[in-house]
Symmetry: D2
Subunit: 366 residues, 4 copies
């Protein structure tokens, strides 16, 4: 699998050009759910100041109070929401741009933003895949920004901290992908999983993960008191998981389900440990994770007998991991939980910003 | 107040022209929530047969399997859903047309359907108000079918059974209106309420009451874990309540709220009993309701100390009424519960059909 | 695997001793969720009459109105709820006893009820396992009614209709088990599944499946906006599934999850088709199920491209099955949905009664 | 009505005896919902340090990891939860004790804690009513701590900041009470409400407001998809509202309802403005509130046309107020929203602590 710069000790680079000053952030996509959460977090982040809110303008509105679209932001910011125009963003005024925009919009504006000297954290999928050929199949558009693609850091702070710290562009991972990669990377890196036996990730996500765009599938009465599977053998987060984990498509099944809750993902992951070379006892599996994530404040490893649940991570930036092992057969179940808007989107974006600008990794994150 | 033909003993008219035969029903608006529930009820009604499903065609689709839009109807009907065309409906083939269509559509097609000899049960608001002048203010269109308007029976079976039995056109009441009228009509008729002191109905409804049309207010994540009031001093169901109850606008406040549930309405209604002429004890209030609704199988009166709740009426055609009286002051609270898709829409429509065609009032209703 | 008397043509036995009369049913466990649903269904079943409601008396109450515990049953029955005493049940007055009682209670009373000449449908787990030795491990008590155990029919009407028709005792299957057995039995019987590759059933259930007993795990605020896995490698429904499907414990993983909904189960089941002997195309898999369940009115098979969801089965007795196949690799996902109180408990119990007493299989079931 | 020390300018007293040091807080009742939220807030409060967690010991447990009862607190505190013993609390080690304990427990321990020199913020109802005679009727126990009662400050920071700053004991108000008092106090103080016409507060609360104790009324399946009214003319929060607002019992109706959500209260409040002396236009009403709460960072006043909803306040410490006025008649509806665990309990407790120890009023509150 891909070499991961896990938990390296490294020199803290000089990240902020204006020492002592607040990082100035612009947020594009301020009217969606990830944008809302991002603004909420940044508005009380001690090292950061929001200087501009923008919306991709698909709604045809000009400048308007962001509270009109996001009542929960009353009292948190006085900035209006403006149309997204790249030419309005100058490195002299903005240090970092967060993009909570559609994939195609991000694809279009990122190269220009980089050229203008801004650092960018993109929450869309537009820069997550290294191979530009993959976008046509999974995202339905041809990718024309290969240079940015190869420079982009795939932003899971626990797995690639050094790369993220020096990145000009961070591709913030998908919510499902984060919950599954954090659960599998340590085991795959240790060589403990029998990949040929197949890895199955059965994930369940709250409805905010689908975004705020109108859809008859997301009407309250269609989601409430319901559960449905979707995207079988065909979900957009698959290629970024294969890429990060070094797996082949025929070794991995990912099945997402839509839960009748607003926030949270729980992934139940089924693997088989290799017959020789892997440990036989649950405590050893837990120990591997405790060791590897020991310096990661946002990952919580559960002891044998306890399992994560969505309630423990909702409205937080934690990713929780718990385990059950059928010791005689080596069948291992990993339960992974996080908040799709927190560690799965806006929270992780801020965690990435913290690395990029030299802050403590969990600053401003609950 | 308006004279109500409550609980009159009356001769059962010869309702069905073809004795012994099943009533043949057409349903327009088959892709919405009221349409779905209506088809579900009618598909197992022992005296009725669905002969045609239609959609108002706003979605631009031609004929398609209704299960495509309504998976829950798999195995319940083999009829396709066709575009609504009045000329397809002939009295020789259809006895009754149920309209779960937008107000404007109902307004347009009802006169033609009546002219073609069909009986009509309209679940929209287009024929609920006697005064055609009221439509411009409350519904935003000019009403041009005054004759049908004056012939229409306002269809609460418990309150106007005789009128409904002989009606060619029944205007099926609003869901909120039903829950409130059933609670207030007996008291107002008895002259026990001090209307000048003001009547306040604070209602809470599940999201299916808002229909299936797309709206950013009805996205799952906007309704879930939320409650919001709307339509203050300005809701479309007000005029039909004033009309049915004989009240003035300044005597009545109605405040609807959107609940994070799919089905059900609970109305909490505040009135003051008149100082003289009304009883002083809770048991007497309960007794009035028990007497007046004694022959109404779908209304359940709760004894002192017990109160209705939505769970007891959801997925049923019951309307439940309970009471709390502050005996020293005569302040009375009535709690009224029903299922907005059942007694508040499709169930009540079938109850009306039962009266119109000589069936037992609760036939086919759970 | 075990021989299953699937879809046999067989003579309708003379089931009802008193032709034309209503089947007289007693319900024990009337204060729980399965009991509530059973009473609701039976109260409008055209071939049945409830003659006695009982509660196991653990709550220390004597005789009381069942509505006190079950407001939704107002207006549906006038029978009080009495303490469960076997000596009150006589074959001259009761044809069939439904037991919605704790496992231990069912274990204790079933032999006596059979001895008194009643037929019994037991919704607990007390008679589901053929090997009495299994009860100590999975249910925590020693089984002392081996004769009844060997006579009991495991009651999935689609799979063992003949056995159920002649049974004196039907062990009504577990809700999870029903959803999984209906999905796997046809494939295993056809020899299409590679069992050694492992079968994984990832199930999600609404909270009513856990029963009505108090538990801090079932407090509203602990279930709402949450999802949690439980019983990993150790759930009580496993042995009945292994038994019905002829599988070994190391070939099968079952992981239940608690959903924040009241009613419904969705099972996502992962299998691998055998390399030779199994078809390669999805249509062929669907065709197998369509053929085998063609005469089963309560099982709905979805065409390629459509998948079951809980909303389509909640408040019904349907079991829905849909499929996705990765044709190059033979990896098959089956999505199975049913209502845990309907087809997963009370509905299936009535379906079993229908077979036992010669009624149409779906009589009284929506 | 009672004189309220609204918005007085006052000298900031020297609140913290050890300047620069962190306030040391003990939390009793750490296993409940208010306790959980309090620990969550305090664990990241920049001016405070939790030094002891306790549980009232009713559960018979000794010392245990608080995460066992509260998984969400993993990674937030390393303190164990100990039995509540007053003798363990010394002023030399603890500056303030938060009590999230049952009313009776608070009643018993508060006098001792004060005697030992601690400051106390009590989240129970035990010290909210000035007249000790009232406790027998509303709380079911005889109050024997009259001196503490008369010293206690009723802790709504927006209404009694000076009193709270100097208090040794703060009685943290009820959740419903806070939502209603904040909405009515300005109008009553201005003399704009016609109290004789009656004031009606129809409130709806999420289930966490009922606490974590087991109850069959709080089982998930009893709350979900339901709404029920309770405590009609008889709820424990009434006397503290009458006391704070200077109203008589016969002028006020309060009806709480249980919502199927975890967090949040929405109160819909109906009043009539006095015919002379009150303004006629909605903008004037809004202006009164904007003026009075101008220096209150946690109260948000909505402009005409916008209304609060629970989603905008959940997981925050904000109290939101919006208004609709029927200008011809003076009938005014106030919609008040807050989070029952935030501004309605733990958040307000921290806000009170902030005043008591000289911090910014909203420090550590989101």
């Amino acid at each position: 699998m891909k070499e991961i710069d896990l938990w390296q000790s490294e020199a803290r680079e000089e990240a902020v050009s204006r020492p002592g000053a607040l990082v100035r952030a612009a947020v594009a996509g301020a009217t969606g759910y990830a944008g809302r959460e991002l603004i909420r977090i940044l508005s009380r982040h001690p090292g950061c100041k929001i200087v501009r809110l923008m919306s991709s303008g698909r709604d045809g509105r000009g400048t308007f109070p962001v509270q009109k679209s996001q009542p929960v932001l009353r009292g948190r910011t006085k900035l209006p929401c403006q149309p997204l125009k790249v030419e309005d963003l100058r490195a002299a005024e903005v240090d970092v741009a967060f993009l909570c925009t559609p994939h195609e919009t991000s694809h279009d504006v990122v190269p220009e933003l980089l050229a203008r000297g801004l650092r960018v954290i993109d929450l869309s999928g537009a820069f997550r895949l290294k191979d530009s050929q993959n976008f046509a199949r999974w995202y339905g558009f041809e990718h024309k920004a290969a240079p940015a693609l190869s420079d982009a850091a795939y932003g899971i702070p626990e797995l690639s901290p050094a790369e993220i710290r020096r990145a000009r562009l961070v591709a913030n991972p998908g919510c499902y992908a984060t919950s599954i990669i954090l659960a599998l990377a340590p085991l795959l890196q240790a060589g403990w999983i029998d990949s040929r036996a197949g890895i199955i990730a059965d994930s369940k996500s709250g409805a905010s993960g689908a975004g705020r765009a109108l859809s008859d599938k997301l009407h309250f009465a269609e989601v409430n008191e319901n559960l449905r599977a979707y995207g079988l053998f065909n979900h957009r987060h698959v290629p970024e998981m294969l890429q990060a984990l070094g797996l082949e498509e025929n070794q991995f099944i990912f099945t997402p389900h839509l839960l009748p809750i607003t926030r949270g993902i729980l992934s139940t992951i089924y693997v088989r440990l290799v017959a020789s070379g892997a440990p036989k006892r649950l405590e050893q599996v837990v120990g591997l994770f405790e060791g590897l994530y020991a310096r990661s404040p946002m990952v919580r490893i559960y002891p044998p007998g306890a399992l994560p649940e969505i309630l423990a991570v909702a409205h937080t930036n934690f990713a929780d991991l718990g385990f059950a092992l059928d010791e005689p057969t080596g069948r291992l179940i990993i339960v992974s939980a996080l908040d799709n808007l927190g560690k799965g989107a806006a929270g992780q974006a801020v965690q990435n910003m913290n690395l990029m600008f030299g802050f403590a990794e969990d600053m401003g994150l609950a």
